[in-house]
């Protein structure tokens, strides 16, 4: 794992059942999307797929924190680094799908929309379309953003030339 610098390796999740792996992937994509992006996606979906189901909040969007843990030396004993803001939401649609979200930041709207998408994606009938319409494009955009961020540093990588010793010069 440590050697892989390929970012966003959500496609290769070892040790998870395919169903879980798929849900882990879309939840990650939804968490990293912006609230505005998800609003746009909702609108696009309603246009293409019709009315979305109504839902009831089991747990209203709640702003809180996650304690971020790290490891001494990067690989050793765990320690508490510090907290980060995080918002969560759980809802149940009228057709009995339960969606849940945990997203970094303080946007209650983001958490609610992410939970709604999570619910819809758990419906096998809706999943292919919602994945194609919403998740895949968001995932591609996120990967691209990440790769571009890293790529911007590429010109700053040092190319060391081996200096030829003096005796080779005349």
């Amino acid at each position: 794992m440590e050697d892989s610098a390929r970012s966003g390796a959500s496609e290769e999740i070892d040790g998870l059942a395919p169903e879980h792996a798929a849900r882990k992937r879309w939840m990650s994509v939804l968490a990293k999307a912006g609230a505005a992006e998800l609003e746009q996606a909702i609108t696009a979906m309603q246009e293409k797929l019709g009315e979305l189901p109504a839902y009831r909040l089991i747990r209203r969007p709640e702003v809180g924190m996650t304690m971020v843990r790290a490891r001494a030396g990067g690989t050793g004993r765990a320690f508490n680094l510090g907290e980060m803001t995080m918002t969560r939401c759980t809802l149940r649609t009228d057709d009995n799908l339960v969606g849940t979200s945990y997203v970094a930041g303080r946007s209650q709207r983001h958490a609610e929309l992410a939970a709604l998408f999570d619910a819809l994606l758990q419906d096998p009938a809706r999943r292919p379309q919602v994945t194609a319409l919403v998740i895949d494009p968001l995932a591609r955009a996120q990967d691209l953003r990440r790769d571009r961020r890293v790529e911007r540093s590429a010109p700053t990588r040092v190319d060391f030339f081996t200096v030829v010793r003096g005796e080779d010069r005349t």
Binding site: L16, A17, I58, R59, R60, E62, T90, V98
Partner: protein, 205 residues
């Protein structure tokens, strides 16, 4: 990697309407109950809760329990309310009653061994457990006489549906002051606070 989900979300009761504001309000009411032992305080924000957890006890749990408070549940609650409490509060459940910050008992007639409950220590007396017991009824009436800080003179209360050993445990507890557990009795939506400062004067059968 843990691939078992510990909570089934489908059947879950909803909890507080407004988690933040409701919890704050209930906390204030609880503060009143603990500051004035003997005053029976109504809790007016009652969440949805699974039986046998009553609204008042659920309100206390949702207000006080969190990730940092290990809880001990009696058998009935383990079976019916552990998902609900895990989801809404995140409190870890412990099988060791001595490790619990909160002990939750669904039926006051079936008390666990209160002798094992955490009493705090000399450096941190506040690390004692708080015992929350559901009872049938609470009223001001001849029964047990309470005295102590927060009580003007004395107050007599009657509790229905509470095993008598609770009162002897409370008296033994008082002798350990400033160590000792704190308790709350809940009947429906009414709460009686019994902090460790309370003196129980007479015990009736």
């Amino acid at each position: 990697m843990n691939q078992q989900t510990k909570i089934a979300l489908q059947q879950l009761a909803r909890g507080f309407n407004d988690p933040q504001l409701d919890a704050q309000r209930v906390f204030r009411q609880l503060l009143q109950a603990m500051a004035r032992p003997g005053q029976i305080v109504p809790i007016d924000r009652l969440p949805e809760a699974p039986e046998p957890l009553c609204g008042g006890a659920a309100a206390l749990a949702l207000t006080l329990f969190d990730l940092d408070t290990p809880i001990w549940l009696d058998e009935a609650l383990c079976a019916t309310a552990s998902d609900y409490l895990a989801f809404h509060t995140g409190a870890p459940v412990t099988a060791e009653i001595g490790d619990a910050a909160f002990v939750l008992v669904a039926d006051g007639r079936q008390l666990p061994d209160l002798g094992k409950v955490a009493l705090g220590d000399a450096e941190y007396p506040e690390r004692a457990a708080t015992i929350i017991v559901q009872v049938e009824g609470l009223r001001i009436d001849a029964g047990h006489r309470l005295r102590g800080p927060g009580i003007l003179g004395h107050v007599d209360i009657t509790v229905d549906g509470l095993a008598p050993e609770f009162w002897s445990a409370l008296q033994a507890n008082r002798r350990r002051f400033p160590l000792g557990f704190d308790a709350m009795l809940v009947a429906g939506d009414m709460v009686l606070g019994l902090p460790r400062t309370v003196v129980v004067d007479k015990t009736e059968a």
